[in-house]
Amino acid sequence: MVNIVQFGKLPKDGDGSQTVVRQAIDDAISSLGGPIHKTIVWHMNNRGVFANPKKIDINFIYENLRELLGPGADMIMEDTWEHLQKQHGVRFDHDFERKHSPAEKIQRVMEIGEA
């Protein structure tokens, strides 16, 4: 089942899509402010979340962000997804888009990139 109707400018190899997703997460956290970005990344690094920059586990990132920031984690995931849509033109079919959370959609993007 392929739900992506448009892959846009997103690299179709596994490593490329991981790097783009990592960059999108970074941009979403940066939009909160520079010093806060450093603090969040520092906490995430302590938890080993960003230990392997080439291997992103979006659910692990989301869980840790949620533990640290509570509801703010959802905003970071939504902004990350928005970034992927705007900057890389990633689109899902309407039904998938409506039924799934941003973290699930990002996960699906990476799964397809790895396939």
Binding site: S30, G33, T39, N46, R66, L68, G70, P71, G72, M75
Partner: protein
Amino acid sequence: MEQQGYLEIKKQRKYLVIGLLAAIAAIDATVLFTAGSEIEYYVNDLSRIGTIGAAVILSLVIVSRQGVTGLFGRAYTMLAAGLVLWMIAEIIWGYYELGLGVESPFPSLADAFWLAAYGPIGYHMFSTSKFFGRGIKKPVVIVVIAAATIVTYFLLQEIINVSTLEGADALTAVGISVAYPVFDAIVLVPAVLMITNAGRGQLTSIPWIFIAMLLLFIADYLLGLTAVVDFAGQTFHITMIYNASYLCFMAGLLWYNKQFIFNRKKTTKLM
């Protein structure tokens, strides 16, 4: 190390809560025990100037440390601007009472500063609620908006009904008394919503600034009621609530300054 970091955060949160309660108890006890004495006005006015002044200093430290960019950079700059305006208002009120000997100067220039602060404070509340308010269900939002509207309507009715002011300034005074709860209600909606959504996140579980706004709403309502009956009766209890509110702002700013803004020394200590 993650566990150690979390335990450190929990310990610091506990210290902050204890420190806040101790500060509120100490300052408000002074207000309470000097009520009715000759120095009542000095204690009331100076305690409010002191507590809001401390919050202003911290807010300016935050702005200088984190800058004005990003969602939080802009939000905390606006909060600092709002707190500065409130501090100016408190100083003007204090100057009228203690310097010029005008008891309860209402309406006055101070009200212009108090009311002007709602712009930047509102910006802070609404912009940070984008971050803290994720996941709030629509029915909860509707209930809170409806409740705020109903409560404000009854408060306004009460303020207008009990008004005993007469003369040229009466309309202005009632208008200003009415403006406070209206503006408060607008910023109260995100505050209450964030409080209902609180309790999660190691760094975000206590929404200090939103709690401060809730206390401010209560104090403003009581002050509005007192103002329209020409400040008949005691007002020290209102000062106590304002002090608690300003100290909650300070606690929120302390927490934010310590936990949210990257500190190289802290990272070295825990590494």
